[in-house]
């Protein structure tokens, strides 16, 4: 971790000159005096760690333990965003400094570190958490000490806290669009729901089932395997028998690798699209472990793919690779993590204050036009309006975007029947 931090802080100068953000950054570098914002007493009435030229935020992810695999991308994205914000003049004239804590894949540790960040470090915002379990552990602490958490992962919904901004999609955004697409474009009539056994796949599949059945179509199977399970032959057999048009998969972690390899070995060629596999859990990050050749032809429904073609994204991908190496891949969550610091900065600036209550008030309606995924906007319910895309996996581990919703999908964390 040390070396990465070092790289992100040491390399920027040269690139800056060529970079698009050169002007404001140069100004910031040349004379911090100009960028001095409003006096601290005005923008910080609740004792946060804000000085005349710095503001502290927290980054809280697992760097050790089983979740480190997934969370490291988010840490990198958040650091990149912070660095870029600093280069462009900081927030209200203050440079962002971050305190990084390790959640160690252990939920009480997350809660503990949150307390530390809020109570001892008095951070102005926390960017962090990945699993639902860690968020659930952190949530009471955030609410008790009135902090602000930017949570990057796509998740099951059923939550809406005044102290959290959810920068990933909640389940309906991801699922409804995906199923609609499969029905409309691919003529799907029957679905097989498969997931790892925990809350997100189970909730997602419930939403999916409801949506499918409402359309008068059929779910021909629903199945869960324990986290870390590696033997999928039986379910593959069941799939072959039931012959669904679509396998709707939300398998996570190491199980993913086993599942796709065994599907492929069992003679399922995804490129033939019979059955078609639609996943909501395999980002570019996961493909690296599974191997592009094993997932070629599967479809993923999420809001961001690294291959998205727009100037924002090209710039973002270039900056990310510059900072962390050319072989980096960027998945949906990594991008969502990148949004966090930016959305916070804009909320602070709109509110003209670091106070949590003012940020909360200012947040709904904030628009981020430079988001790599395109335009996003914060909803009243603290989730983001965002478009959902369907990507088709290539052997090189990237998705080719084949579809994009016309409108922004409205976040609906408490869908009908889930209140």
């Amino acid at each position: 971790m040390k070396s990465q931090t070092y790289r992100t802080t040491s390399r920027p100068r040269r690139r800056l000159l060529a970079g698009l953000a050169a002007l404001p950054a140069l100004m910031a570098l040349a004379s911090p005096v100009f960028s001095a914002g409003p006096p601290t007493a005005e923008v910080n009435t609740t004792g946060l760690a804000v000085t005349d030229d710095t503001v502290q935020v927290g980054i809280l992810h697992s760097i050790t333990g089983t979740m480190a695999i997934s969370e490291i991308g988010s840490v990198q994205a958040e650091k990149l965003a912070i660095k870029q914000i600093n280069e462009s003049g900081g927030v209200l004239g203050r440079q962002i400094e971050f305190v990084q804590e390790d959640g160690a894949s252990d939920w009480p540790t997350f809660a503990e570190k949150t307390r530390k960040l809020l109570r001892q470090d008095n951070v102005a915002a926390i960017f962090g958490c990945w699993t639902s379990a860690s968020r659930k552990a952190v949530l009471p602490v955030m609410e008790q000490f009135n902090g602000m958490l930017y949570y990057p992962t796509f998740y099951e919904g059923l939550e809406q806290s005044p102290n959290v901004i959810y920068t990933g999609q909640e389940a309906t955004q991801q699922i409804l669009a995906g199923i609609d697409w499969a029905v409309k474009e691919k003529g799907a009539k029957t679905f097989y729901l498969l997931g790892s056994d925990y809350i997100w796949p189970r909730t997602s599949n419930k939403i999916a089932r409801k949506h499918i059945e409402k359309k008068g179509l059929k779910v021909v199977g629903e199945e869960y395997y324990p986290l870390g399970h590696t033997q999928f032959n039986s379910v593959i057999n069941k799939i072959k028998l039931r012959k669904p048009d679509v396998i709707f998969a939300s398998v996570v972690g190491g199980s993913n690798v086993a599942f796709y390899k065994q599907m492929k070995a069992a003679g399922v060629d995804f490129t033939k699209e019979s059955p078609l596999l639609l996943t909501i859990s395999v980002t570019e990050d996961e493909i690296r472990g599974i191997g592009g050749e094993n997932v070629e032809g599967i479809y993923a429904s999420m809001k961001y793919f690294q291959s998205l073609e727009n100037p924002n994204n090209e710039e973002f991908v270039a900056a990310f690779k510059e900072a962390y190496g050319d072989d980096m891949v960027i998945g949906d969550v990594t991008q969502a993590a990148y949004l966090g610091p930016w959305l916070w900065k804009m909320a602070v600036e709109k509110a003209g204050s670091f106070d949590i209550d003012k940020i909360r008030e200012a947040s709904p309606g904030i628009e981020f036009k430079k988001a790599p995924e395109g335009y996003v906007r914060i909803h009243e319910n603290h989730h983001l309006w965002s478009k959902t895309r369907i990507g088709r996996a290539q052997t090189n581990g990237q998705y080719e975007v084949v579809y994009e919703t016309k409108e922004l999908m409205e976040p609906d964390p408490f869908p009908e029947g889930y209140k």
Partner: protein, 308 residues
């Protein structure tokens, strides 16, 4: 329950589930063979068994990369080289671990459990530092992909078949080694009566080291084979350890045949249950059944009756 299916479909179900059970069986055999040797013959609990498997998997990954970059023409055959290297590396590390750690603990089996658990933590973190926290993808040669199409519904995956062949060859090799070779006789002599074995001039320390190394080496080969069907990451090994121990204990320690019989029983019942229940419940029921049977019959399926 069967009403939804036609007769031909039912036939295919049984054929394919039978095959699914068989591949699970070979997975269990691969996992358990190394452990059965170490636990059954030496009484040592090696909690780092999974990590030795992952060492084999990473060796395979590195070999694949090496062949891809330097010997692309021979890529089709890299897997055999990888398995050999996996065996050698794991066995070498195993021998070292035996020398540095395990040999001091032969009289304290529960302590080997703790020490090897510590070892497993260190190995996991070492993998994380060297290979990164993410899983690595191991590319297979073209000929290992795909499946034989038997009938419209029944397909036999080639790599599943391959894993099965490896499992059976290893089981056979172990059998020959343990029961048909002079070395195997020595191992068994040491197991049954250590002081006596020493007295008749067997180098028991050497036998111990070789046995431990052999067990670890087989774990390495197992890991190598698992790159075809599972994931290769720093903590992938942990997922296997409980299942593996249960297979060995259920079979009756000290009985290699027992290990195979128990692998067969557990895999067949699990895959049958998986078909009718959800995956999680099948797993729970399988574990529960094994635990209950072990409570009723602690000596396992194939126990030797010895006058004590």
């Amino acid at each position: 329950m069967f009403a939804d299916y036609s007769t031909t479909e039912l036939m295919s179900i049984f054929a394919m589930q039978g095959f699914a059970g068989l591949s699970l069986f070979s997975v269990f055999v691969l996992m358990a063979m190394g452990l059965a040797i170490i636990f059954g013959q030496m009484g040592v609990i090696n909690m780092a068994h999974g990590e030795f498997m992952i060492l084999g998997a990473y060796t395979t990954y590195l070999t694949a990369n090496l062949f891809e970059n330097y010997l692309p023409g021979l890529f089709a055959g890299y897997f055999f080289v990888a398995m050999l290297l996996a065996f050698l590396f794991s066995a070498a590390l195993g021998a070292f671990v035996e020398w540095a750690m395990v040999r001091h603990l032969y009289r304290r089996p529960l302590d080997t459990l703790l020490a090897t658990w510590g070892l497993s933590l260190i190995m996991q973190q070492a993998y994380r530092s060297i290979f990164g926290a993410r899983e690595v993808g191991v590319e297979l040669p073209q000929w290992m992909m795909g499946a034989f199409q038997v009938t419209d519904l029944v397909q036999i995956p080639i790599n599943g078949l391959f894993v099965m062949i490896i499992a059976l060859s290893i089981a056979l090799a172990v059998y020959l080694l343990m029961f048909r070779s002079g070395w195997g006789r020595k191992v068994r002599a040491v197991v049954q009566n250590r002081p006596m074995a020493e007295a008749v001039g067997i180098n028991t320390a050497g036998v111990d080291r070789a046995t431990f190394a052999l067990g670890c080496g087989i774990a390495g080969v197992a890991g190598s084979a698992f790159t075809m069907i599972g994931s290769t990451g720093p903590s992938s090994g942990q997922a296997y350890i409980v299942d593996t121990f249960l297979v060995v204990v259920f079979g009756g320690a000290q009985s290699l045949i027992g290990t195979i019989v128990s692998a067969f029983t557990i895999s067949q019942s699990q895959s049958t249950m998986e078909f009718f229940l959800s995956g999680s419940m099948a797993k729970v029921l399988t574990l529960l059944t094994v635990v209950i049977i072990l409570m009723l019959r602690p000596e396992g399926l194939m126990a030797l009756k010895v006058r004590r």
